[in-house]
Assembly symmetry: C2
């Protein structure tokens, strides 16, 4: 029997198993769902055991358990570390769902439910691909370790501790993460770059208390205005970062990568109108939009607060103000160097009378995976085989912390092979996952492992 | 009997009457104190009647009543409109009071209580000065109208409607307001200038919804950053306003007024350390501090909000942001012209991709009273007589809306003769009023009216 035939003949059961897992409202951020989170972990462990994995383990943590499993009987073959998460986002606002979020409904070839795509439907492709390989070949073509977490939607603290503490146990040649999307429906896509993230708080102090602006206005420094003045100097009107040192080490993508981005079906006017919804785009005018969001660093202000913003008029000179800001980093930028450059810039540019301080909440580098890596080549070929088109290589402007952790602590690249679609509404009402992509994903992952193990 | 002898011989009763009024917690902003507010109005009316005023009237309004009274039997003499307010601020935080806010205590020669100075103690000087004049002279040296409101601490909407609707009834030659402070203890002080105020909201819109900063950062406009960029252009680092047109009509104070300010006991290092409490002052470096806060326009940001400012990290590109801003205006600046200049500047300076809009919440001009006005000359001479020093003429950087209303609707200047002290802690715990100033104020106001009526 072939992989395709096995998947085809078990479509119904595969789907039923997934729907059973989706029905567990494993909302990791809500304490009242703690039992559901534990139930989802137990169910995940059971399904891994039934698929043929060994050493299945529910690893307790300070919050939600990890599920570990492996199969290590392919001597001389590479080892693949499969990652996913069984926890989901809250479902509110409930009234915007067409059908209840934890009663999955099939409409128009999609599964509608919270977690359908993010990430139950996607990591379950791994489980069923492994079952399929066991069923068809009696064994796996590579060694496999599986690590599924329950805290991805709440920051992933436990796995971030577990990985560096279990380097030997998790040792592998490559990781496989299915938590991304195809660039467009029907277009086989591998994500080979992520931006890093430095998240900071900048606070400003002016007078020792809020002052009456009539009595002191004109002579007393204003913390809100001072913070606005400081932040405004970070970029020019077009969006070029002006902070000395931040752009020093930025790696330009290879010419061929840029050329491939130009071939993608990107429609700037649709992006502006349907996704961004402002009067025009901003950013470095000499860079195309996909460069700006994939391969260029950014500086953003995520929020600002200070002084009086209630109804009516209050004439205070605010004593304090706070902003949340971040840098997105691209390959070769050193987060520590960028933080140091930012601190120096803040010190040099804070207006007179204002004291500004910087607090680092997190800092992780950007990363790229070389398309010539054997795992990437195998994944691209598997994709082309199942979807009938050449694989495109894209980046994401966002960050996937676990990919950074695997790189940093285990020294391995990650194959980001996600079968989501750009309009799957992750974290929003009517989240969906295309049913065909679920089955295509199972077939593609099985083929990827075969090719990577040298058996196809 | 002289004025001084009458005041001296009735000190005890004057104080007891004031304390009785202070004990009424007439907090205008708290609905549960509505009955207290009404009781304070009735008590004020009774005391005016007992002092010898006629046509005493409690004028109902949409919120808290006005108290009106008059005595108009001095034909050929000028008419003085006495203003005050019987309502007070809330007293919280209660635990910071040394003695309960509505149980007035005498310590170190001060009355400690909410409303002791602002404004019960001060307007009650008017009432007792009138009683004294009736007692000593059998009549008043001028015609007098009295108007006491109960909404000063909540915006004064009712009196702002009442004044323009009762121009004939309120017709007078000058108003007398005792709601300001001496420049320093023992220094007779008249306030002859107030800055005006334009209060505005500036809102900014960027993308149509909050966007993920990883996926869109670098290409999507950011409402918070755009608003910060816009506002930052309003002033240079020193505090000079850069908005074209705003400074066009600014009137410089006369050389002699500047010279007199230089003679005031102003201590810049004390002002910085004890009042402002920042590392240094800001503002136009070529102007002395009293100019900056009294005779120069300002632009201030009172508050700003937008995006995420909670605990932790959220990587949004905010869709919206809002700031509350104001201009303080000095004489000759036309509020409408400044608003128009600001709107034009916002339109010209809003960064690409951002839509900014301006909403005017209020707009009132600055004003000055000429020291040569006969009422000001009489007030200054009266002060010199009771306090034994030449009167200093100062301005206030703040606004007293009723003074603007009297100028606009009745066409009259106001004598701002306040006996408070700079450290009286208005609106704060342990508000106080110096007992000696209460009696000095009564004597000074009586003398002022005598002089202004040509009888002294």
């Amino acid at each position: 029997m072939t992989i395709d035939a096995y998947v085809e003949s078990h479509r119904g059961r595969f789907l039923e198993e997934l729907l059973e897992l989706i029905r567990v409202p494993s909302i990791s951020t809500l304490p009242e769902h703690k039992a559901d989170v534990d139930r989802a972990a137990a169910m995940t462990a059971d399904r891994l055991r039934e698929a043929g994995l060994e050493n299945v383990e529910i690893v307790p943590t300070q919050r939600h358990p990890l599920v570990y499993a492996d199969w290590l009987h392919a001597p001389g073959k590479p080892t693949v570390l499969c990652y996913g998460h069984y926890d989901v986002q809250p479902a509110d606002p409930l009234h915007l769902w067409t059908t209840p979020p934890f009663e999955p409904a099939i409409r128009d070839g999609n599964i509608y439910a919270r977690g359908a795509c993010d990430d139950k439907g996607q990591f379950y492709m791994h489980v069923k691909a492994l079952e399929t390989l066991f069923a068809v070949h009696g064994s796996l073509p590579v060694n496999v370790k599986v690590l599924i977490e329950g805290e991805e939607e709440v920051g992933g603290e436990s796995i971030a501790r577990y990985v560096p503490e279990n380097k030997e146990k998790l040792r592998a040649d490559v990781a496989l993460v299915s938590d991304t999307a195809l660039y467009a429906d029907g277009l086989p896509t591998l994500c080979v770059g992520l931006r890093g993230l430095i998240y900071l708080e900048v606070s400003a102090k002016g007078p020792s208390r809020d002052l009456h602006s009539g009595l002191y206005g004109g002579a007393a420094p204003n913390a809100v205005f001072g913070l606005a003045q400081l932040l405004a100097k970070a970029k020019d009107d077009e969006g070029r970062i002006l902070i000395p040192g931040v752009l020093d080490d930025v790696e330009e993508p290879a010419d061929e990568e840029i050329a491939s981005w130009k071939r993608l079906p990107f429609d700037e006017s649709r992006f502006l109108a349907d996704e961004v919804g402002s009067s025009r785009l901003t950013g470095e005018p000499d860079r195309m939009v996909l460069e700006r969001v994939w391969s260029r660093p950014t500086f953003e202000v995520h929020g600002i607060g200070g002084g009086f913003t209630g109804a009516g008029s209050k004439t205070v000179i605010p004593a304090e103000a706070l902003a949340k800001v971040s840098f997105r980093l691209v390959p070769r930028q050193d987060p520590e160097k960028v933080v140091a450059a930012f601190r120096a810039w803040v010190a040099a540019n804070t207006p007179p009378g204002i004291e500004a301080s910087v607090r680092v909440l997190s800092a992780g580098p950007g990363l790229v995976v070389k398309p010539e890596h054997p795992a990437i080549e195998s994944a691209a070929a598997a994709f082309e085989e199942t979807m009938g088109k050449p694989t495109v290589f894209i980046r994401s402007g966002g960050s996937i912390p676990i990919v950074g952790d695997f790189a940093r602590h285990l020294g391995i690249p990650t194959v980001m092979m996600g079968l989501g679609l750009p309009d799957d509404r992750l974290h929003s009402p009517d989240e969906k996952f295309k049913l065909e992509n679920f089955h295509t994903g199972i077939r593609t992952i099985a083929r990827f492992l075969l090719r990577y193990g040298g058996s196809a």
